[in-house]
């Protein structure tokens, strides 16, 4: 089932990305925890490039290792987790920085001024007995920024996010709704003008309407502040409205990396296709929305061969014996599957628009 991309509705991912200019490069990254029942590898030999000014979306189910990937970008994996591999950050000018080798002081500076992170629980990210204004002031002071100019910038960002700066600044976190808190947190993360914003499930606890609103606001903000964004979520449809490129994570590693349009129309990994087909929407016939068979993998028990083979309808002996690399399956499109053509042909995504026009038998 090939689809002319020209006819397809255009979402994100139609602007060219400068692939010669990475801002963060991750090589051979591994995060592991020692548990009583064995070593738990929650990120396995991951390579990732984040290009300047793009939005890369990482999608995966809970427990797929996506949050740990984000944490290791800031060398923030908590004890007793162990991180190995390389995370290289390329500042606009100056020497590349090896993030995992930074000392505590350098790391503190790096974390807010170069790469900022917004976590899922905005509720717990603010100190409940300190006003929002104090959070902004202290952040600016701690990093030796001009507080007056910084506060002006903060107020502008708040307005940009449809918040009334006077009201929000004087409030304590419990006086704000979940959506307002999350937006105030995004504003706080931007106040030191970072180059990269890492967002880990920033909208998961919010209503759909607020989720969509925040995604639109993030797009405006990205353009305005020249940001590079890494957006991590389990919510595939939300991501397609925001990301230029997407990386699908399954069992602690990427199984498919491609431009958003390629993921939507030419997904080549059986897991990506299953994920696309299990997403309820308002158009697809309810009988055509399918669950994904099987259960998700355990980080302690390493699955031999392809990590998805126990759940994959196409799996054969090769899949259970050999682990597939991320093969090139198209231009800037990689998937770790031995049978990308068969996956496209046999795993039908019924909600794809081509099926909508025809008569359903």
């Amino acid at each position: 089932m090939s689809i002319e991309t020209e006819d397809a509705p255009r979402g994100r991912g139609d602007e060219p990305i400068d692939r010669g200019d990475p801002i963060v490069e991750i090589r051979d990254l591994e995060v592991s925890f020692d548990l009583s029942r064995g070593q738990s590898k929650v990120v396995r030999n991951v390579d990732m490039d984040l290009y300047r000014h793009e939005t890369l979306g990482v999608v995966g189910e809970s427990g797929s290792g996506k949050s740990m990937l984000a944490m290791s970008m800031l060398d923030a994996v908590v004890e007793p987790g162990r991180v190995s591999g390389e995370v290289t950050y390329y500042p606009r000018d100056g020497e590349p920085i090896s993030v995992l080798d930074l000392g505590p002081d350098e790391l503190r500076k790096f974390r807010w001024e170069e790469v900022a992170m917004v976590f899922q629980g905005a509720m717990s990210s603010f100190n409940p007995v300190t006003s929002i204004r104090t959070h902004f002031k202290e952040t600016l002071q701690d990093h030796d920024y001009d507080v007056k100019a910084g506060m002006e910038r903060a107020e502008n960002i708040l307005e940009e996010l449809y918040l009334d700066p006077d009201r929000v600044m004087d409030a304590y976190s419990h006086e704000l709704s979940g959506g307002m808190k999350q937006r105030a947190l995004i504003a706080l993360s931007l106040v030191l003008e970072p180059e990269v914003l890492v967002l880990d499930e920033p909208t998961a606890a919010l209503d759909l309407l607020m989720q969509r609103s925040i995604v639109s606001l993030l797009r405006n903000i990205q353009e305005e502040f020249d940001l590079t964004m890494l957006f991590i979520t389990h919510d595939l449809p939300l991501l397609t409205k925001l990301a230029d490129r997407m990386a699908v994570m399954y069992a602690f590693d990427f199984v498919e990396v491609a431009g958003t349009q390629d993921i939507l129309y030419n997904a080549s990994h059986p897991y990506t296709r299953a994920l696309l087909g299990t997403t309820p929407d308002l158009e697809t016939d309810v009988e055509d929305i399918r669950k994904i068979e099987g259960s998700k993998p355990d980080p302690v028990q390493h699955i031999s061969g392809c990590s998805y083979h126990p759940r994959c309808p196409l799996a054969d002996e090769q899949c259970s014996a050999t682990e597939p690399d991320l093969f090139d399956v198209g231009e800037h499109h990689r998937a770790s599957c031995f049978y990308p053509e068969a996956a496209q042909e046999k795993i039908v995504i019924r909600n794809q628009p081509t099926d909508r026009g025809g008569v359903d038998e």
Partner: protein, 360 residues
């Protein structure tokens, strides 16, 4: 079987005082939140009603009121014709005892992890309700009933699961145990309050399918609360049910699934539809509400409650509270726009703000 609905919610209002301290009490600064404001809703035998709305709109309060877990400030709730709170208080002629009503109306919460006692094995958690309500069953009979149900929801072999503690189960398995626990009582209505929101996307469809499958077995009705229109549509459409849309304590639109999805009448429903993820739809850039935040529920807007955010609001919307208008059979909307002859159409637009739709 009587022809009365399983649960009938009649013109119910639920108020909460926000006074949290003595100080508020003395200064009289306590505010009243009207979480549910004059709602009527009937839930029939084998019915599925999906109740959707933003957080804080009162959908959980309405749900709890409907199963008799929350006493309404005004209005009445009846179970098969028997007023629930009259039964509770022993008022009048009680035809169905309160205990039986409570047993027939069950709930599944959002977070299965905290709905199960972390110190009890699955079997113990599931035994308790049976011991209380079906005390004439022997231990073996109880155990076999639990095993059968667990296998039915795909937790097989049941012997493996019954001796586990909740933390040894995945989120999906925990939620299944909670579902089994509610169904052990053979209830007439299960309130599923955001029961699938905490699950992974790939598990949601499976969980909803399971609920529907069990509906066939147990003849249960569901009141399915969600903030996600696509999930609401999935479960309600498969069960040929209805969708009710709630905004600031009121039901603003209710009707059969296909009519709500294909022909939403209320601008708020249209906004929710916009917010619903669709992989292959053209992304519409602009947020179609004038205010992204929901108004303060202690001080809701006068007249039509949505007029402060509504892209279609006209002057009349700020002056007059609309009634429920019938759009199609069994499809009602609390918006003047549903009435083609209403003065609304002559009224001046309330705001100059242009929405994306109006732009050239």
């Amino acid at each position: 079987m009587s022809s009365d609905p399983v649960v009938s919610v009649d013109d119910v209002t639920v108020e909460f005082d926000t006074s949290s301290s003595l100080f508020d009490y003395f200064t009289g600064s306590a505010e009243t939140v009207r979480a549910v404001d004059g709602v009527s809703l009937d839930i029939e035998e084998n019915d599925v009603v999906a109740l959707i709305g933003e957080s804080g709109c009162g959908k959980s309060t309405l749900g709890k009121t409907a199963i008799g877990a929350q006493r309404p400030t005004k209005g009445s709730i009846s179970y098969r014709g028997q007023d629930i709170w009259d039964a509770r208080d022993g008022k009048g002629d009680v035809s169905i005892p309160f205990n039986e009503i409570r047993r027939s109306l069950q709930i599944i919460h959002q977070d299965p992890g905290s709905a199960l006692n972390p110190n009890q094995r699955v079997l113990t958690s599931l035994m308790l309700p049976l011991k209380k309500w079906e005390s004439d069953l022997s231990y073996e009979e109880r155990e076999s009933r639990i095993h059968t149900l667990l296998e039915h929801v795909g937790m097989s072999p049941a012997e493996d699961f019954v001796n586990r503690f909740p933390h040894q189960l995945s989120g999906g398995e925990q939620q299944r145990v909670v579902l089994v626990r509610s169904l052990l009582m053979n209830p007439d209505l299960v309130l599923a309050d955001e029961a699938i929101s905490a699950l992974d996307v790939s598990l949601r469809v499976e969980m909803m399918d399971m609920m529907l499958e069990l509906q066939d077995v147990f003849d249960t009705s569901y009141l399915f609360i969600s903030h996600d229109l696509s999930n609401a549509r999935y479960i309600a459409e498969k069960a040929d049910g209805r969708i009710a849309v709630m905004y600031l304590g009121q039901i603003v639109e209710v009707g059969p699934v296909d009519q709500i999805i294909e022909n939403p009448q209320h601008p708020y429903t249209q906004v929710l539809k916009w917010a619903t993820p669709d992989l292959y739809a053209d992304p519409q850039e602009e947020v179609p509400v004038r205010e992204v935040d929901i108004p303060d529920p202690t001080n809701p807007p006068e007249a039509c409650r949505f007029h402060t955010r509504c892209p279609e609001a006209r002057e009349v919307c700020a002056d007059v509270d609309p009634e429920m208008y019938e759009a199609e059979t069994a499809h009602y909307s609390r918006c003047f726009r549903t009435d083609e002859t209403h003065d609304y159409w002559e009224s001046e637009p309330l705001y100059d703000a242009v929405t994306a739709e109006d732009q050239p």
